[in-house]
Symmetry: C2
Subunit: 319 residues, 2 copies
């Protein structure tokens, strides 16, 4: 092993840890950072200087002296770096610009039907370019582009997903790298929504996120991180909640997604979502039955997830 | 903040990390430890010396030189410390002596009916004392006593568990501390069985452990650790696998434990387990139906757990 390489790794690792700690716990003194990370004070000072030179950290609030020179907080400079987030859905592309806060600085939504062709991804690239130009983004501040899609993803790579709305088997990572340049990340939409919830909204460290939309998705956050990265877990939509129940498009019977999805509501009522909820309010018995069933299956799923994880369960998504 | 205290914390933290890393990944060189833990080589050398002075680590295999002095592996000395593990069940007390391997050095099983009285715990203490004397254990090597019980435990503290075979509401931590001295740890039996499986048998880092015994228990291991310590999660026995199904002793209908437990098999067949399996082999139709139901519900549970975690699922326990 090469010693120089090792020391460089150590330094990069320490830099990452300090940035992550400030992100997660907010401003703190060098002494607090040293204690939390098991580093010596001189090590923290050196890393702090190099992070400050990159504009990533700055001196924050001055604290009261406990004897010597009054310490001050080190804070993360949120606007020092920006990232682009792109949500790919069947008919829309949503683009957001996020700082290190993470706060959404700007966002746009475009109508664009997904078809998985190279041409489609070129159009997405154009939308992003004009979005960045509109926002006068300094490209040297840009960290990369993250895509979220409605499909299971393992370690950033799409996996077979024939029963998913967006068929990612047709996403060619080489094509994407060529069109967007690196670094590009592709992740599951429910996993990303859950991280946004937990990191952005200051939720608990341990949370189960159940996404109820057109389909059902989910994520498990343990100790502020996605359980095992962005792997193909939390496939809550295909948990069986009704043994021998409704046929799901995955081929099983009685999956949660066959009941608790706007797709299922529309399919079984033969109505649009707006019509469905209007009819429900107007006392339509068939709709009432479907809705009661939706809520009943949801209750089973939430109860089971609670027994498994013993954490808060966040229900998100859009109807 | 006191600087001296901080430095001591850093040192203790580094010692712990080195011991844990050697435990988890096996013998490695100082250079490898430094790289993995993000520490400098001099720091690792200092800590290594102090651990060696305590008899916790030793020089292992000498490796080939890559230019300079040939490096050698640092290994954990398994027998440097011992712990006592005690499994409390309704009618038995099992006592084991474990080294840092972790390997069971010696074990004993005693008939003793649990009743939760101070007298009961005094008897357990006597059994442990004579077990330690039989094994001529040097008490300075003893780290502590760990108890495993059939009940949900949160952070080492028993929680209300009225539907569990061992009613832990009657365990008084103050009484236990007085009888056994500190440190004493009390944890859930399924959680401990799963850790033994993963740490001892070298299983994967991510695993779901489903314990099928008299009742149903379980544990979730993520990144080689119990998910959120020893908290009240993985209550797989009360997941609903049959909506509106059999009444469980928890008050719900259709819990996994109402089907997949030897208690349920005995209750519904009216036979002992030996009689049940003998009858099953002999072609008893009612037993066949019960057993098919057991396997069917188990299949639903395993399928759901697999969708949630996407990891190996270990089924353990004893009938």
């Amino acid at each position: 092993m090469n010693k120089a390489a090792t020391n460089k790794e150590v330094r990069i690792n320490n830099q990452k840890n300090i940035v992550n700690t400030l992100f997660r716990y907010g401003p703190m003194t060098k002494q607090e950072l040293a204690s939390r990370l098991g580093l010596s004070l001189p090590t923290v000072s050196v890393i702090n200087k190099s992070l400050a030179a990159k504009g990533l950290v700055a001196k924050g609030e001055k604290l009261e002296s406990t004897g010597g020179r009054p310490p001050s907080h080190i804070t993360l400079v949120f606007d020092a770096r920006l990232s682009v987030g792109v949500d790919i859905s069947t008919h829309h592309v949503r683009i957001v610009l996020v700082n290190l806060g993470p706060t959404i600085v700007s966002s746009q939504k475009h109508f664009l039907s997904y078809d998985g062709t190279t041409e489609y991804w070129r159009s997405v690239r154009k939308l992003i370019d004009s979005f960045l130009a509109d926002n006068q983004v300094d490209e040297t501040k840009l960290l990369g582009i993250g895509f979220s899609v409605q499909a299971p993803i393992r370690s950033g790579q799409p996996v077979s997903a024939s029963f998913q709305p967006v068929s990612l088997s047709s996403i060619d990572q080489n094509v994407m790298s060529k069109i967007f340049g690196s670094p590009v990340e592709v992740h599951n939409d429910a996993k990303m929504a859950s991280l946004a919830q937990v990191w952005g909204a200051g939720e608990e460290d341990d949370v189960v996120y159940l996404m109820l939309s057109n389909g059902v998705g989910g994520a498990i956050i343990a100790d502020h991180k996605l359980l095992r990265g962005t792997s193909k877990n939390a496939e809550f939509g295909h948990m069986i909640v009704q043994d021998g129940g409704r046929l799901c498009n995955c081929g099983q019977h009685g999956c949660l997604g066959a009941y608790c999805s706007s797709r299922a509501l529309q399919e079984h009522s033969g109505a649009s979502l707006d019509e469905f909820f209007a009819g429900l309010d107007a006392g339509n018995d068939q709709y009432r039955e479907l809705w009661d069933e939706y809520l009943h299956m949801l209750a089973i799923a939430v109860s089971n997830l609670y027994l498994i994880f013993d954490t808060d369960i966040i229900i998100g998504g859009e109807m």
